[in-house]
């Protein structure tokens, strides 16, 4: 057993599963968005706003946002443990990524509940 403290779920299996589940959610969100753009004939500000005023859309979007953050964290964490051999450099990189993802999530929540 290789000990690790910075990975997402502390277990390779849970990270692996999480990576797949979040990928499916992101795919569903992308397909939904593409469908929305193709299926809406007159796309103006009002249709766009009314879409995001529905609670279900906010839940779906927040889910996609959290999935994106988790997916990016697991992916970039893996890349950093592959290529950054200096512990200091790796920890700084991981801190920057974590901070950026956290900021994106907060910002996204603000946007979603701001419309």
């Amino acid at each position: 057993m290789v000990t690790n403290i910075t990975s997402f779920g502390r277990s390779g299996l849970s990270d692996w599963l999480m990576q797949r589940v979040t990928a499916v959610i992101l795919l569903a969100y992308t397909l939904f968005m593409v469908g929305f753009f193709l299926g809406t004939s007159n796309l103006d500000y009002l249709t766009w706003v009314s879409l995001f005023q529905g609670t279900w859309m906010r839940i779906f979007s927040l889910l996609a946002l959290l999935s994106l953050a988790a997916h990016a964290w697991i992916g970039l964490w893996t890349v950093s443990t592959d290529y950054m051999k200096s512990t200091g450099v790796r920890l700084v990189f991981q801190a920057v990524v974590a901070l950026a993802l956290f900021a994106y999530v907060v910002w996204g929540v603000q946007l979603l509940w701001g419309v």
Binding site: M1, V2, T3, N4, S7, R10, S11, G12, L13, D15, W16, L17, T78, T81, D82, Y83
Partner: protein, 234 residues
């Protein structure tokens, strides 16, 4: 005439590795790469490599031939030579001891980690522990591994984390004992593998499958281990 370019490095005297070229007369025969190395050694006796059985059984002459890992003794020139040139390098990713000889310690440490022996704490029967023919069949494609390290040293995930990722060879052996009906330590074995490195660093690139001189499939074994971890998890 065959152009042979060989990796030379003696850490005690050389500052850096270099390639040395030889002209070898194969007399038009489709020799094995190992035979060519013998001819090279006749010209330069300081040339160093490992070999023993010369028939693909011992696994000691794994090396990189024109960019692909394999056993020199069972690789005919016709399979690897391009434009009349043969480039020989040590297995990638492991420390070089001398010329084509690498230090396999990291590779063996991973092998040791997966406990490559039957664990069974039930009382031993008077005769050997029996196994049904069906259960025995499950070991086919696993037990044949000769630990040549061709696969693990062709695996990028093993290059980056040879101390944490078990590697294709070790994982093939891990599965060989996980699936053995006579082994009772399945759970303990699995719990040793459930971290982000040991198994899950495999990215499914299948370099291991493409180089294994025994035609084994570590990627498939790794997939089976993942399935076992999944069905054992809560």
């Amino acid at each position: 005439m065959l152009q042979v370019s060989v990796y030379r490095y003696n850490p005690e005297t050389d500052e850096a590795p270099s390639m040395k070229d030889f002209e070898i007369d194969t007399q038009g025969k489709d020799l094995m790469v190992l035979d060519v190395l013998h001819l090279v050694k006749e010209k330069d006796s300081s040339m160093t490599y490992r070999r023993s059985c010369r028939e693909g059984v011992c696994g000691s002459d794994g090396m990189n031939m024109n960019g692909k890992n394999g056993l020199a003794c069972i690789t005919p020139l016709s399979e690897v030579v391009k434009n009349g040139k043969l480039i020989l390098r040590p297995l990638p990713g492991l420390p070089v001891i001398r010329d084509l000889v690498v230090d396999m310690s990291l590779f063996y440490e991973q092998y040791e980690r997966i406990q490559p022996y039957l664990i069974n704490d039930t009382p031993a029967p008077a005769i050997e522990r029996l196994q049904s023919p069906e259960d025995r069949d499950k070991l086919d494609g696993l037990y044949e591994c000769i630990l040549c390290a061709c696969c693990s040293t062709a695996c990028p995930s093993f290059w980056w984390n040879p101390d944490k990722f078990v590697g294709p060879s070790g994982l093939l052996q891990a599965y060989r004992f996980l699936i053995d009906s006579r082994d009772t330590a399945t759970r303990e074995r699995l719990s040793e593998l459930d971290d982000p490195f040991s198994v899950f660093r495999c990215r499914g690139i299948m370099n291991c499958v493409s180089v294994c001189p025994k035609g084994l499939n570590p990627t498939r074994a790794i997939g089976h281990i993942r399935d076992m971890l999944l069905s054992n998890a809560t």
